[in-house]
C-alpha cells in the first residue's frame, strides 16, 4: 500500500521562475491496485513519481509504503521496495553489460553485495526460465550485451528487471512513449501481466488516453500539482476517451488522440 499525505514540491523557490509542481497532494493506493496517471505537461506527474522514488525530495508532506515512512529515505534505499521503468530505454539497463549481468544486478536488490559470485549457475537457470515467459527470445541471448537490443526489447527487459525481486511498488513513467505502436502494445501487455501477477501497487504515467482507460483499475488526472479527477469502478468503465477529453477540455496537443 502506498499512502501520500499533503505532498508539496516547488521548483526555483524565490525566483521569478518559481513553479508549483505538487500542491498538497493526497493519494492512497491499495495493495495490488494499478493506477494510470494522465495530465498535461507540467501537471506534476513526473515530479510525483520522482518524489516517490526519491530522485526529488518533497518540500513537505509524507510518503508511506506499507507502514514504512520513506519520505526521507535515500533513493537507492527506496529502490529495494520500488521497481522503476523510465521513458528513455537507455536509462533502465547497463548497456555495456550482458543481459544476464543486468538481471543479476537487479536480482540482488534485497541481498548483500559483497564478494559473492556475480552470477551463479543457479541464477542463470532461473533467469533463463523466467525470461522465456516473456516470449521475446531474450533467454537465448543472455550473454549478449544490452546495447545490442532494440528499444522495445530493452524496455521489456527493464520492466522484467523492475519486478524481478518482487517490489511493493512499480513506477512506470511513460515507459512506452519512445516505442513504435506495435512494440508499445507488447510492452503494455507485459505490464498488465506483471502488474496483475504481483500483489504490488502500480503507477503508470501515460499521455495516451485510451491506454489510460484500457489498463489498470483506476485513472487519475493531474493538473497544476493536484489530482483533479479520480476515476474508478463503474464511472471508469463508462468513460470513453472522447468523454474524457471533452469533460476536461484538455488543451494539449499530446493528449489529443483520435
Amino acid at each position: 500500500m502506498l499512502k501520500i499525505q499533503n505532498l508539496s514540491k516547488r521548483f526555483n523557490i524565490g525566483t521569478v521562475n518559481e513553479r508549483i509542481a505538487l500542491n498538497d497532494l493526497n493519494l492512497t493506493v491499495r495493495e495490488g491496485e494499478f493506477i494510470t496517471i494522465i495530465g498535461s505537461n507540467g501537471a506534476g506527474k513526473s515530479t510525483l513519481m520522482n518524489c516517490i522514488s526519491g530522485v526529488e525530495r518533497a518540500d513537505s508532506g509524507r510518503i508511506y509504503l506499507d507502514t514504512m515512512d520513506i519520505t526521507r529515505l535515500p533513493e537507492h534505499r527506496r529502490s529495494r521496495y520500488i521497481g522503476r521503468v523510465f521513458q528513455d530505454p537507455m536509462k533502465g539497463t547497463a548497456f555495456d553489460m550482458t543481459i544476464e549481468q543486468n538481471l543479476a544486478i537487479a536480482a540482488c536488490k534485497n541481498k548483500s553485495r559483497g564478494f559473492q559470485k556475480g552470477i551463479t549457475k543457479k541464477d542463470r537457470e532461473e533467469f533463463r526460465q523466467r525470461l522465456s515467459l516473456l516470449g521475446m527470445g531474450l533467454e537465448d541471448r543472455m550473454t549478449q550485451k544490452v546495447k545490442l537490443l532494440s528499444g522495445g526489447q530493452r524496455q521489456a527487459l527493464t520492466l522484467f528487471m523492475a519486478v524481478l525481486s518482487g517490489p511493493k511498488l512499480l513506477l512506470l513513467d511513460e515507459h512506452t512513449a519512445a516505442l513504435d505502436p506495435g512494440t508499445a502494445k507488447k510492452v503494455l501487455d507485459l505490464t498488465d501481466r506483471f502488474a496483475d501477477s504481483n500483489s504490488m501497487c502500480t503507477l503508470m504515467i501515460t499521455h495516451n488516453m485510451s491506454d489510460a482507460l484500457a489498463h489498470g483499475s483506476r485513472t487519475i488526472l493531474m493538473d497544476s500539482g493536484r489530482i483533479i479527477m479520480d476515476l474508478k469502478g463503474r464511472d471508469r468503465d463508462n468513460m470513453t476517451v472522447e468523454m474524457l477529453v471533452e469533460q476536461f477540455d484538455i488543451a494539449n496537443d499530446r493528449m489529443l488522440l483520435k
Binding site: 547497463a94 544486478i105 521475446m136 512494440t183 495516451n208 485510451s210
Partner: protein, 338 residues
C-alpha cells in the same frame, strides 16, 4: 635503431610496472567512465610510502602493501570531493593532485627524493634469490598477474557488477538499490590504489622516490589503455573482460618499447614528455581520423562510448511480426519528458 638486449629487458621491466598503473587508469577512465587526474599525485604518494618503508623498516613487501593503501586513500579523497561536495570529477582530481604534492613532500620527510641504494627492495631480493638477469621481469610479471587475477575476480563479484554498472548507467544502478556514490568511492579508491602500488614498485625498481616523478602519469596510463585496446582490438573483435585487462597491461609494455625505440634512435630524453603527448594524441585521434575516411567503420572514442550499435543485426522487435491491434498507442513519440 636497434636496441641492445638490456635496453629491451629494461623497457619490459618498466612496462610491467606501468601495466599496473594502466589497470588503475582503466578502472577509472573506462569502467567508471570518469576522467581521474589524481593519478599524477597518487603515484608519487605510493612511491614515497614505499621508499620510506624500505629505507626505515627494511620491508619492501610491506612497502608495496602500504603504497597500495596510500594510493587508495588519495583516491578516496577525490571520490568524496566528487560525490559529497559535488565538485566535478576532473576538478576534484586536479585539486587532490595539487594537494598531494605537499603531502608527498611530508611523506618524503621534506626532501625532494629518497634514494634506496642502501635499502632492500623486492628487485634486489629477487636478484639474489633467483639469480637470473630476468629477475626484474619475473617479479614484474608475478605482481602483475596477481593484480590482474584479483582485479578480474573482483569485477565478477556482485560488488564488481554494481561497480561496472555504475560507469554504464547511474540511473539503473540506483534503481537497482545500489548507492552509486559508494560505488564511485570504491572504484576511484581502488583505481588509485593500483596506481599507488605501481608507484611503490617504481620506487623500488629505480631505487629512488622522487617528488616530481608523477608528471604526466595519467597520460602514460591512458596511452597504455588505448594502445593495448587498439592493438588487441585488431586481433580480437569482441574482447572478453579478462583479455581486455591483459590487453591494457600489454599496452603499457608496448608503450615503453615504443618510447625506448624513439630514445634509441637519437631523440633526446628531454623530449620524452612531448613524445608521450604526441603518441596519445595520435592514438586518440585515430578514431576521428578513421571516421573521416570513407567506407570505414566507426571506432571507439576515448571513453569507450563510441557508437558501436549494430543496427539491423538484431533490432527487429518480435512484436513487429504480430500486427499491432491498437493503433492508438505510440501516437506520442515522447520527445519531452516533464
Amino acid at each position: 635503431m636497434f636496441m641492445s638486449f638490456t635496453a629491451v629487458v629494461g623497457s619490459v621491466e618498466l612496462g610491467l610496472i606501468y601495466a599496473i598503473l594502466a589497470l588503475g587508469v582503466f578502472l577509472s577512465f573506462r569502467t567508471l567512465n570518469t576522467p581521474d587526474l589524481t593519478v599524477d599525485g597518487s603515484i608519487v604518494t605510493g612511491s614515497a610510502v614505499s621508499a620510506v618503508v624500505c629505507s626505515t623498516l627494511g620491508s619492501p613487501v610491506l612497502g608495496l602493501l602500504l603504497s597500495f593503501v596510500a594510493g587508495g586513500l588519495a583516491g578516496a579523497v577525490t571520490a568524496l570531493l566528487n560525490t559529497k561536495l559535488k565538485i566535478e570529477a576532473l576538478l576534484a582530481g586536479i585539486l587532490v593532485m595539487l594537494g598531494l604534492y605537499s603531502v608527498n613532500l611530508r611523506i618524503l620527510g621534506g626532501r625532494a627524493n629518497i634514494p634506496l641504494t642502501q635499502s632492500p627492495t623486492i628487485y634486489k631480493n629477487a636478484r639474489s634469490v633467483l639469480n637470473t638477469p630476468y629477475s626484474g621481469c619475473l617479479i614484474g610479471i608475478g605482481v602483475l598477474i596477481l593484480v590482474i587475477i584479483l582485479f578480474y575476480l573482483f569485477l565478477n563479484t556482485r560488488l564488481g557488477f554494481a561497480l561496472r554498472a555504475t560507469g554504464d548507467n547511474e540511473y539503473m544502478v540506483r534503481s537497482a538499490g545500489v548507492d552509486s556514490s559508494a560505488m564511485r568511492l570504491l572504484g576511484i579508491s581502488l583505481s588509485n590504489a593500483f596506481v599507488g602500488l605501481a608507484g611503490g614498485m617504481l620506487a623500488q625498481y629505480q631505487s629512488t622516490a622522487d617528488i616530481n616523478m608523477g608528471t604526466g602519469m595519467v597520460v602514460i596510463g591512458l596511452a597504455s589503455v588505448i594502445i593495448g585496446e587498439a592493438v588487441f582490438g585488431v586481433i580480437f573483435r569482441n574482447m572478453p573482460l579478462l583479455l581486455r585487462l591483459f590487453a591494457v597491461a600489454a599496452g603499457a609494455v608496448l608503450y615503453r618499447l615504443v618510447l625506448a625505440v624513439a630514445l634509441n634512435s637519437g631523440m633526446p630524453s628531454t623530449d620524452l614528455k612531448l613524445t608521450s603527448a604526441v603518441i596519445v594524441t595520435i592514438a586518440l585521434a585515430s578514431g576521428a581520423v578513421s571516421d573521416m575516411l570513407p567506407g570505414r567503420k566507426k571506432k571507439k572514442t576515448i571513453l569507450g562510448q563510441g557508437d558501436v550499435s549494430v543496427r539491423g543485426s538484431s533490432s527487429v522487435p518480435s512484436s513487429r511480426r504480430n500486427p499491432a491491434r491498437s493503433s492508438s498507442a505510440g501516437e506520442n513519440s515522447g520527445k519531452d519528458g516533464e
